[in-house]
């Protein structure tokens, strides 16, 4: 319990630091500090409202506290070009990114764990010797390039799958759930998920493989052997269960990292997610939107780091607080 509180406090401290960095970054950029929130594209009424809301005519330190207060209420300003509150714009695309991230991580981790365990079991076989460098090579490839190659083959060359977007034009659904479950959406999802999964499977695979190799030498496995249990039962019921713990932590960390790392894949497949939103906002200098998108990505990362930390200490009681820090 004390550990939980301590980590929570630490996480809040990190959030505060990131929020402050963000404030400074967007105020110190070229141009007047007003440019962070005001643009001629917004109506005069909107501009006056924002001027009031963010205290843009006050000294910088006062603006800082107003900014913190606004953040707590989810007030992030108005997008210059969409002329809508930033929070609304973010929440509209966020589910797309979450669906993409989680589906690809699940595919990657299920495959990675199984393949990793298999490779550990077949240690020093021809397959194992060829697989490790191959996995490393895939991890070395830029995600967007994997996406480009898959796109060229499966979409343009073979014409099996759509080349971008999350839905075909002209499709309407009663609810988000209906949309996510529609065949059209799933067809659009396949290539981006495959791209990300190819890239992401290396970590769980290599982790699982080395954990299995380590665990197979532990005393409890020897004990199971002495009891005369079958090889299958030893590998699955005893070794794999213990080798799985670090992989779970990696999964939690992976969610946080991927939400931001997806950026390039979202661009390749024109996936309407938070990463694509960020890139477009930066490219068009839509400061409030860029700031909001970055903040959301950072918050997910920090939150998942916290979750991974907690998982790690819950699953492995040997971890003392000192080692975590």
């Amino acid at each position: 319990m004390r550990l939980l509180l301590e980590r929570l406090l630490h996480t809040l401290l990190v959030v505060w630091a990131v929020v402050t960095i963000l404030f400074l970054m967007f105020r110190l950029m070229p141009g007047s500090p007003l440019a962070a929130y005001l643009h001629d594209n917004l109506s005069e009424e909107q501009q006056n409202l924002i001027l009031q809301q963010f205290g843009l005519d006050r000294p910088l330190w006062e603006q800082y506290f107003i900014y913190l207060g606004n953040l707590l209420q989810g007030e992030l300003g108005v997008s210059f070009f969409q002329r809508r509150p930033v929070l609304d714009v973010l929440l509209a695309v966020f589910p797309n990114t979450i669906v993409l991230t989680l589906s690809s991580l699940i595919v990657a981790y299920v495959f990675g764990v199984l393949a990793g365990a298999y490779l550990a079991w077949r240690r020093n076989s021809v397959i194992e010797r060829a697989a490790v460098p191959a996995v490393l090579a895939i991890r070395a490839a830029p995600e967007f390039w994997i996406g480009m190659v898959l796109l060229a083959i499966f979409s343009f060359e073979l014409g099996w799958l759509p080349s971008g977007g999350a839905n075909s034009p002209g499709m309407f659904y009663d609810s988000e759930i209906d949309r996510f479950l529609s065949l059209d959406f799933l067809r659009h999802l396949i290539l981006p998920v495959l791209t990300l999964a190819l890239y992401l499977q290396g970590l769980p695979l290599l982790l699982m493989r080395s954990n299995m190799l380590e665990v197979m030498h532990d005393e409890f496995v020897t004990m199971a052997r002495m009891k005369g249990l079958s090889e299958w039962s030893i590998v699955i019921r005893h070794a794999a269960r213990n080798a799985l713990l670090p992989v779970l932590t990696a999964f939690a960390l992976g969610v946080g990292v991927s939400v931001g790392g997806n950026v390039v894949v979202e661009i390749v497949f024109s996936w309407p997610g938070i990463g694509r939103l960020l890139v477009n906002a930066v490219a068009t200098l839509d400061y409030p939107l860029a700031q909001g998108a970055f903040l959301l990505i950072a918050l997910v990362l920090i939150f998942m780091n916290f979750v991974a930390d907690m998982l790690y200490s819950m699953l492995d009681p040997r971890v003392s607080h000192a080692r975590v820090a």
């Binding site: 460098p133 490393l136 070395a140 967007f144 480009m148 343009f156 670090p246 931001g260 200098l285």
Partner: protein, 311 residues
Amino acid sequence: MPASLEPATLPRPTPALWPRLVRAVGRAIARAAAQLRRDGFALAGVTIYTVFAVVALLADVLATHDPMEILFLPTGKLAANIRPGADFLLGTTNLGRDIYSQLIHGTRSALLVGLSAAVVVASLGTVVGLVSGYFGGRIDMVMMRFADVALSLPFLPFVIVLIGFLGASINIIIMAVALLLWPNTARVIRSQVLSLRERAYVEAARVTGASTWRIMFVHIAPNILPLSFLYGSIAIGWAILTEASVSFLGFGSANVVSWGYMLQDAFASQALSRGHFNWFIPPGLCIVLVVVAGFFISRGYEEIFFPKLRD
């Protein structure tokens, strides 16, 4: 301590800082070279690096055309979308630029970004790790909190925002990579220093009155140099991948031919739908080769120097 006392209390010769560091580096390289013969991974990695380094150095000789020049056929027609052949080894882009020459010149910017970032990451991480681990206490706490914050910034989005605002340049990419990657190096080095500073020879140096900085840089630093190299070699790959991603997103500098720029150019010019595999496969393969070489080398080195570190 008064300088006049030193010869009396310290009869042993005290070698200067730099020769010792240089010798430590030499020893590390010699050990690594010896290992190369045994480790196939590391050997492959070093071979790949060597080939790319030679290509980068000889880029002007190896390239058949100016990478950015718009080329014309003898008939006066624009040499656009030519298939690979004798005149254009890998064909040309839709604007009549030679792909092979771009690829060769891209090696140069990739190695430049990779090596500079590696040097900055490794030195920053080493110094912070040394100071943090050796002094401990409040300094350590502050530094490690900074590390936590740096690790909580989403990598690519941070680089994108920074470049979007400060303008595209290779220096900013290197700076951003260094800013976000030093904590990994610093944390590992810190924990190594924590154990080294309790060793008998460090205690001995302390008792004989060696200054704090001397202990840190003469007695401890040489022992963690292999770790710095290891993390430096990992940073090379990261920096090259980051530069490629940033260029692909269209935030790269306009007058530098890099592999990321080539991929962006191909993507934006519909090379995918036209099936111009000769345009976008080679740059991607080059990135894979350079980055995987870094992985191979760091794997091999981990096995020599830190058999227990591997996870």
